[in-house]
């Protein structure tokens, strides 16, 4: 439907210079690029993935294990969508890329040529060389295959009597919640002194820390992993911490973050650092070879953003941008203010702009919380200029659009606070905390 319609709309010269676009990876970055390219052009699109045939939402894998959804529910498009939109799906694994010759080699032995290559191969779970990290029953949680492994090693609390999770980030807490849904006791080892305190300021981090404990998870802070122990069948039987405490377990989840999945590019002519280095057009050192999503590392990130952003939203925006760049006129990747979200067990978290865990002199925080209800808001501003820098919210839904505008227009923090209830996105009849928040925050400002 879309393609036949576009055929009528596109000028003739575009029909005559159809390009062969190959996309490595069918995650949110690659698929967003594919969809937008299809909307804008008649280019031939091939998406290669060895993970799954159809695009699924990686962030939703946890809900499959917990039984909230079946795997097919995590697929945002019905299976007929791809053929109808003339997007070729290839189930294979890329083993080699040759940028200059414009070819890739697949595990099946096939070679594919391309006019344009988009690398969107995502991340791999970090492993820091711990002894025993490759035992059976030791795993991260990133891919569909990881989910299958988890079903194999932790199907219930008889097969898996106890689990240990190492690494206190977003995936770690998700994995803890997942295992708990099957009544598997979880010990959660976190290097920091408080959960996710390398990202969250003290108040928020403390609230989540309390919440994790309330859920009956054995959270051990300031704890590092030393070694993973094996039984005589090569399966994990326990871990040892750096304090020489041994914790028996049948599953060890390693969740100390992710890094770009680029090992298959070793020896290729594509320049990499931690990730695939790309310029502001998302192009690598080789013309017509691009990288987007988790695996890309921006040589010059825009202000307030990081070089590698392994989040759903960045992948999607890069895909969007690159499609327009390829199909219309040159276009730089210039994302707006940072935003992100997560859910820690029952507490929803949203963030807009930048609120650092350890604020500098040029960043002051205005913090409000309601402990009983697990609600908190933290507003960051520059005490010198009075400029609003960002906001964290726990348990209260706030509008993205409101803060996006506030941050882009660089308005003073007082103005943001004055109209804060305009940003309320909580469902109807929810208790309104804004009066309370404003009073508390205005008091803090007047003291400051």
């Amino acid at each position: 439907m879309i393609s036949s319609y576009l055929a009528l709309r596109l000028p003739n010269h575009q029909l005559h210079c159809m390009k062969n676009i190959v996309i490595i990876g069918n995650g949110i970055a690659g698929i967003t690029a594919a969809r937008h390219i299809r909307k804008l052009s008649q280019h031939r699109i091939t998406v290669i993935s060895s993970e799954t045939r159809y695009f699924f939402s990686r962030t939703a894998l946890m809900y499959v294990y917990m039984g909230h959804m079946k795997f097919e529910h995590t697929q945002p498009y019905e299976n007929w969508f791809w053929e109808k939109n003339n997007i070729d799906l290839v189930e294979d694994h890329v083993v080699k890329v040759n940028g200059q010759n414009k070819t890739i080699q697949l595990r099946s032995g096939q070679h594919h040529s391309f006019d344009i290559l988009i690398i969107a191969s995502g991340s791999v779970s970090n492993k820091f060389g711990w002894p025993g990290q490759d035992l059976r029953g030791v795993q991260g949680l990133y891919s569909k295959q990881d989910l299958d492994l988890l079903e194999q090693y932790a199907p219930n609390n008889k097969e898996c009597r106890q689990a240990v999770i190492v690494g206190g980030g977003l995936i770690g807490i998700e994995l803890a919640e997942m295992l708990q849904s099957r009544n598997i006791p979880v010990t959660f080892l976190v290097r920091e002194k408080s959960f996710w305190s390398n990202v969250l300021p003290e108040g928020e981090s403390a609230m989540i820390t309390r919440h994790i404990k309330e859920h009956g998870i054995d959270l051990r802070l300031n704890t590092n992993l030393k070694e993973i122990l094996s039984n005589n069948q090569g399966r994990v039987r326990g871990v040892v911490t750096e304090d020489n405490v041994e914790i028996p377990c049948d599953l060890c989840g390693l969740t100390p973050g992710v890094s770009p999945n680029i090992s298959y590019l070793e020896g290729s002519d594509i320049e990499t650092d931690r990730g695939i280095l790309v310029d502001e057009y998302l192009q690598t050192n080789i013309e017509n070879v691009y990288a987007i999503g988790d695996c890309a590392q921006l040589r010059t990130p825009t202000q307030g953003r990081k070089a590698i952003e392994a989040v759903w939203y960045a992948g999607r925006m890069m895909g969007e941008t690159l499609a327009w760049h390829l199909c219309e006129k040159p276009r730089k990747y210039r994302p707006g203010p940072w935003f992100n979200s997560a859910k820690f067990m029952d507490i929803e978290y949203q963030t807009y702009g930048n609120v650092s865990n350890t604020p500098s002199e040029r960043e002051r925080h205005l913090y409000w919380e309601n402990r009983n209800d697990n609600k908190a808001i933290n507003i960051a501003y520059d005490p010198v200029t009075g400029k609003f820098l960002g906001i964290n919210t726990l348990g209260i839904r706030l509008k993205h659009e409101y803060f996006d505008q506030c941050l882009r227009s660089e308005i003073p923090v007082e103005t943001v606070i004055e109209h804060l209830e305009k940003a309320n996105f909580d469902p109807e009849f929810y208790r309104n905390y804004f009066q309370d928040i404003k009073e508390s925050i205005n008091q803090q400002i007047s003291i400051a």
């Binding site: 909307k39 804008l40 939402s57 962030t59 939703a60 809900y63 499959v64 917990m66 039984g67 909230h68 959804m69 795997f71 529910h73 995590t74 697929q75 945002p76 019905e78 299958d148 079903e151 194999q152 199907p155 219930n156 609390n157 849904s181 099957r182 009544n183 859920h215 759903w312 939203y313 999607r316 925006m317 969007e320 941008t321 327009w324 276009r331 730089k332 990747y333 210039r334 994302p335 707006g336 935003f339 979200s341 997560a342 859910k343 067990m345 029952d346 929803e348 949203q350 839904r397 706030l398 509008k399 993205h400 659009e401 996006d404 996105f425 909580d426 469902p427 109807e428 009849f429 929810y430």
Partner: protein
């Protein structure tokens, strides 16, 4: 042996039921067992006590079971193992329950004598078992409908309390559930029974659940009821007028301000059961594009059928002579034709651009069929809609009133989800839906670029709306079928969805873009979306 990972997903995780939960489940089954024994004419000594005891045990066991299920967990979304349990994943228990309920409905609608209904002498069986309660309330012996109404109300109350616990963190869900519990107990159950007490030899009102609005209440304007209303004097006339303005005035106003949710998930009895007893099955509703296509044709066809049937029935008992009473056969037909033409014309003039191709075909098609049949009637003197009014009525009552709304609508909860009737069959939902889509302040808004396409919203939408398809594009959800239950918003892990009433302008925003990217680029994407 190598474990097949995809097989292991299907294997059930350990049951989380506590000992107490099992105990309460056994009590509940025992109470149902007593009712079943009564159905088989087992004679209980002290019938009243056994009866009261079984109903109270049934109610309490549901409530205590739920309390046990939720009290150990902090407030929050409770969907663990939904797709791994046989009952809620179309497994053996799901099928058995579905067959069981279906069987009950077939007996209830078509063979009430097996339940002990006896029009000549005293009731026996389970209906006889309910006689004492019916005597207290209405002063009359029970009927199969009294048994059904009582069990229905117990289901909404007990499973309503379960729902209240399940969503105790969510005020919207709590208030809404109180509302359906109130309307079921008061309006559907107690008031009509107590109204029956007012009846005497000289004064008689028909059984009237005031919130049950035509065309859901398809029999409201049948001759026996209208005669009865009229002969009951001022009160009767007031009720008749209320029935008419309910659909023509009250409903459009409330739907304009709040969307169809004011009825479908706050007031309606079918909705009430779906939201409480049916809640564990909401994820079974098919949310494919194909199902949506089927839904649109089927539900609007039922609406047309109900309009034709009601018109024919009313037409059949009106007089010919306008001198005797102004509303005669001809005036009535012209009124109906006029009203339909007016609605059609208004939609065509003001909302044509919002109708998709198949909606236009459907609208034109149905409009021409109805007006064509009316013209044909005048030209050839045939029956109004070719068939005898009575056969239209009895076919409607059988196909739609009994089979669709009861047997399929509720019996198939564990197979097709809890809103099959509301979605595919309810003519009232169809009317409210048309209005909600075209002329209402209600919409579900999405929160900028925060959607992660996880699919919880689409999975738990009982109306099978692919909510995610809109959320991941940043578009508002404005769909005829949305009953505003609010569960999509509740299960969203990233705070993306919000049910809102707001100005009509910008309500349908199919040009929306996802906040967060370069503004110039977003403008271009917006332009492209508009030109689509």
């Amino acid at each position: 042996m190598k474990t097949n990972p995809s097989m292991s997903i299907a294997s059930a995780p350990p049951s989380n039921a506590t000992v107490l939960q099992r105990v309460w489940a056994i009590f509940g089954v025992a109470a149902l067992g007593i009712l079943l024994l009564a159905a088989f004419n087992v004679d209980f000594p002290n019938k009243t006590w056994w009866f009261t005891g079984s109903l109270i045990t049934l109610t309490l066991s549901i409530i205590l079971y739920s309390y046990e299920a939720y009290r150990h967990h902090p407030p929050g979304i409770k969907n663990n193992q939904v797709w791994q349990k046989s009952l809620t994943n179309r497994g053996l228990w799901g099928w058995l329950l579905g067959i069981g309920i279906t069987f009950f409905y077939i007996i209830l609608y078509f063979y009430p004598q097996f339940l002990g209904l006896n029009n000549e002498g005293e009731n026996t069986g389970i209906i006889g078992f309910f006689d004492p309660l019916s005597q207290i309330l209405s002063g009359n012996p029970a009927s199969q409908w009294f048994v059904y109404g009582t069990l229905y109300t117990i289901a909404i109350l007990a499973f309503g309390i379960k729902f209240l616990w399940k969503y105790r963190h969510n005020p919207y869900e709590r208030i809404r559930t109180f509302s359906v519990m109130f309307f079921q107990t008061g309006f559907a159950f107690l008031i009509p029974e107590l109204m029956a007490r007012l009846n005497s030899d000289s004064f008689s009102l028909p059984y009237y659940d005031l919130k049950n609005i035509w065309p859901l209440n398809y029999y409201n304007f049948e001759q026996y009821r209208v005669d009865s209303f009229i002969s009951a004097g001022d009160i009767g006339i007031a009720l008749l007028v209320f029935g008419i303005i309910s659909i023509l005035v009250i409903t459009p106003i409330l739907t304009y301000y709040y969307g169809k949710r004011w009825y479908c998930s706050w007031v309606c009895g079918c909705g009430g059961l779906a939201e409480t007893a049916g809640d564990p099955f909401r994820q079974l509703s098919d949310n494919s594009l194909f199902a949506w296509k089927v839904e649109r044709w089927v539900v609007h066809s039922v609406l047309v059928f109900s309009v034709l049937m009601t018109t024919a029935v009313i037409h059949s008992y009106l007089g010919y002579d306008a001198e005797k009473y102004w509303l005669n056969k001809d005036v009535f037909l012209l009124l109906v034709a006029g009203l339909l033409t007016l609605v059609f014309a208004l939609v065509w003039i003001f909302k044509k651009q919002e109708l998709k191709k198949d909606a236009r075909y459907g609208a034109i098609g149905y409009f021409s069929i109805i007006s064509g049949l009316i013209v044909l009637h005048y030209l050839t003197g045939s029956n109004v809609f070719l068939f005898q009014a009575e056969s239209l009525r009895s076919w409607y009552a059988f196909l739609i009133g009994a089979v669709f709304s009861g047997v399929i609508g509720t019996g198939f909860y564990p197979i097709f989800g809890n809103r099959v009737w509301c979605r595919f069959g309810c003519p009232m939902a169809a009317i409210l839906g048309l209005q909600q889509r075209l002329f209402s302040r209600f919409r579900i808004t999405t929160n900028g670029g925060q959607c992660i396409s996880c699919g919880n919203c689409s999975t738990y939408c009982e109306m099978g709306i692919d909510v995610r398809a809109y959320a991941q594009k940043g578009e508002n959800i404005v769909r005829a079928s949305c009953v505003g239950c609010g569960i999509c918003s509740a299960v969203c892990p990233r705070g993306v969805l919000k049910l809102e009433n707001g100005p009509l302008e910008g309500r349908i925003n199919s040009d929306a873009v996802l906040t967060g990217n370069d503004l110039d680029l977003l403008d271009l994407i917006k332009e492209e979306k508009t030109s689509e």
